[in-house]
């Protein structure tokens, strides 16, 4: 069950890749090179990577407006993702989706989503399809603490629990729904408590500890594949950046942000790998250098890719 060295290094690499991707996007956005809105995943990398490292070919994920990390963790190409965020034709969605709608259905990535909480019933449906087709696949839905107040959360958990769907609801509790702190937006602290209402297991884990997330996801997926139904996993985490790029973050203190930065999931995992004699400093440095190169190439790729032709404006509205 425990990942081997190669798998752990791959997890470390993916977390770094997300971090580098997001920080690069932040830079490019501030320089005006990226249009629209971007919501970055910096600080939450352990959740996407801890969960997706357990998934196979038939499995689906549904994501959020903060979806870049989920796509990368699922194995999406950073070139095509970057091109999409630039609005270019070589992006995953030909530049028609952008950051908030980036998707790669061929990888089982059912898309980022501009509507908070929209992914829950979608994932329940994808899980239903896997169950119906008896292919052993599961579906994972990532969503935030804010989404746990939406009707979609309650309806999807209820449906999934009565139909015993192979779905794992992964709540990334980063303590804020946009500007509303959790204590202001719900009368509970542990979203895992809500599992009780649907008669399913609910667990709360340290979302900044990739191995904690990995273990919980592994067990929930095992349970789902065995036909025992859905699980709610709450990962306590924090976004280092604002809700969106350009957010002045007036609703939280610098001190709080700095406290959480000390709990950086990538640093923590790197330190563990070293202290536990799993990897050497040289190995980790080499990964870091490769990742930087990969993201540099992704930006290059995105820049070189052309914008979609205006003739693309009305294609893909319908299937023929």
């Amino acid at each position: 069950m425990a990942p081997n060295k190669e798998e752990m290094l791959d997890m470390y690499r993916k977390m770094l890749l997300i971090r580098e991707f997001e920080e690069t996007v932040a830079n490019l956005f501030s320089q005006g090179q990226i249009p629209g809105f971007v919501h970055l995943y910096v600080g939450e990398e352990a959740v996407a990577v801890g969960v997706c490292s357990n998934l196979g070919d038939k499995d689906y994920i549904a994501s959020t407006h903060r979806g870049h990390g989920h796509g990368i963790a699922r194995g999406a190409s950073v070139e095509k993702m970057m091109a999409e965020i630039f609005g270019k034709i070589d992006g995953y969605c030909k530049g028609k989706g952008g950051s908030m709608h980036i998707a790669a259905v061929e990888l089982g990535f059912l898309g980022a989503n501009g509507i908070v909480g929209a992914g829950l019933p979608l994932a329940a449906g994808a899980a239903f399809a896997n169950k119906y087709l008896k292919n052993g696949g599961v579906a994972v839905c990532f969503f935030g603490d804010g989404a746990s107040n939406r009707a979609t959360f309650h309806e999807a958990l209820n449906l999934a629990s009565i139909w015993k769907l192979p779905v794992i609801f992964v709540c990334e509790n980063n303590m804020y729904g946009i500007s509303m702190s959790q204590e202001r937006h719900q009368n509970i602290n542990d979203i895992a408590d809500r599992a009780v209402a649907y008669g399913i297991p609910g667990v709360s884990v340290d979302g900044n500890d990739v191995m904690a997330v990995y273990e919980a996801a592994a067990e929930a997926i095992k349970r789902a594949r065995a036909g025992e139904g859905p699980t709610l996993i709450e990962c306590k985490t924090y976004r280092f950046r604002g809700h969106f790029e350009g957010d002045a973050c007036v609703y939280r203190s610098e001190e709080e942000v700095n406290e959480w930065k000390k709990k950086c999931p990538i640093q923590r995992f790197g330190t563990s790998l070293l202290e536990m004699n799993i990897a050497s400093r040289e190995e980790l440095d080499a990964i870091s250098a490769e990742v930087k190169e990969q993201i540099k190439n992704a930006v290059e790729f995105a820049r070189k890719s052309p914008y979609p032709d205006v003739s693309e404006l009305t294609t893909d509205v319908y299937c023929d």
Partner: protein, 342 residues
């Protein structure tokens, strides 16, 4: 005449809800429990109750919920401390309560919560109420009753020697220096990460050190209990060397290592631990689980030892306390007869 309350908002939600069959203990239910504790304390005239601040806000919630129906005579106060939503909050709160001179600290949590509180409480007794998963140290008790017992001690209606019992503990040394404690068990695991913290994979267990052994418990203490019962007051503990699942251990013990999780644990050897006796941790690198939670990482090249100590935290024995009070007539009232009526 004061009492402390430390409620762990994080207890009762770990991965054992998934890998075992534990139930979620939601925080609103813990708040209900605290409300009943306060009413118990108040009824005996306890003057002041100190609360640890926490991210769920038990203090404010409990007081708000009591504001309408019952006016408390006691004064509830929040410790002036910054919280990090980590277990260290509980340790520091216990230190502050001890400094404030509380008669006892009522804890709401599991074994893990009490382990941390014990680190800060010094000689202040604990009254541990179970709201966790593996609960050997805390007891399942109605909040009102817990409040009454703490109140009897705080108001002096019952003497400490009637109410208190000293428990054992294990001290973990890393490279010769004390690093941490466990109240019930310390388990050496062939693992590299603390991960989701709980212990459910019996095949990773290499050594067990325990202060108690009882098959009436959930958790590793039940493995020990399967070999020999060791009571909370008995002046010994146990050390078990666990075999690999495929190895040729002559004995295996069937034990409830988690709620609904009954496993066979192969035993290579076991012996009683005497007070002050230290055992060597044989695996490195490894992870040591304390009271059911993977807690300490022993890095490659570090050495670790575990010692049985008889100087664990003092605990309020609820049954004995209430019985002593009843024997003294604390709960009894005599109505005065009208004059002239013999």
């Amino acid at each position: 005449m004061s009492v402390g309350i430390i409620a762990n908002p994080a207890s009762g939600k770990d991965i054992r809800r998934l890998v075992a069959h534990a139930t979620v203990f939601d925080n609103n239910e813990k708040a209900n429990l605290i409300r009943r504790i306060l009413l118990g304390l108040d009824s005996l005239g306890v003057r002041r109750v100190w609360f640890m601040p926490d991210y769920f806000g038990f203090y404010q919630r409990v007081l708000d919920s009591l504001a309408g129906r019952c006016r408390l005579a006691l004064e509830a106060r929040l410790l002036d401390m910054k919280i990090n939503a980590s277990q260290d909050d509980s340790r520091r709160a216990a230190e502050m309560m001890a400094a404030a001179g509380v008669s006892c600290i009522i804890t709401l949590g599991g074994d893990g919560t009490n382990r941390v509180v014990a680190k800060g409480a010094g000689n202040i007794p604990l009254l541990p109420v179970s709201t966790g998963t593996n609960n050997v140290f805390p007891v399942m008790v109605e909040g009102t009753v817990a409040g009454l017992a703490a109140g009897l001690l705080a108001t002096g209606a019952v003497e400490p020697e009637e109410a208190l019992q000293r428990t054992k503990m294990l001290v973990i040394y890393i490279n010769g220096r004390p690093a941490d404690i466990a109240l019930i068990d310390a388990v050496v695991l062939a693992d590299r990460f603390t991960g989701s913290r709980a212990v459910w994979d019996a095949s990773k267990i290499r050594q067990i050190a325990a202060t108690r052994g009882s098959t009436a418990c959930i958790g590793i203490a039940s493995v020990v209990g399967g070999l020999r019962h060791i009571g909370p007051a008995e002046p010994c503990g146990m050390h078990v060397i666990v075999g690999s699942p495929t190895g040729d251990a002559a004995v295996s013990v069937r034990a409830a290592i988690g709620p609904g999780l009954i496993k066979r644990v192969p035993v290579v050897a076991y012996h009683l631990l005497q007070p002050g006796q230290r055992i060597q941790v044989l695996e490195s690198p490894c992870v040591i689980a304390l009271d059911g939670e993977r807690e300490l990482r022993i890095n490659a090249g570090d050495s670790a030892e575990i010692e049985l100590s008889m100087e664990g935290p003092w605990v309020v024995d609820i049954d004995r306390t209430l019985a002593a009070a009843a024997a003294r007539g604390v709960f009894r009232e005599h109505r005065e007869r009208p004059a002239g009526n013999k």
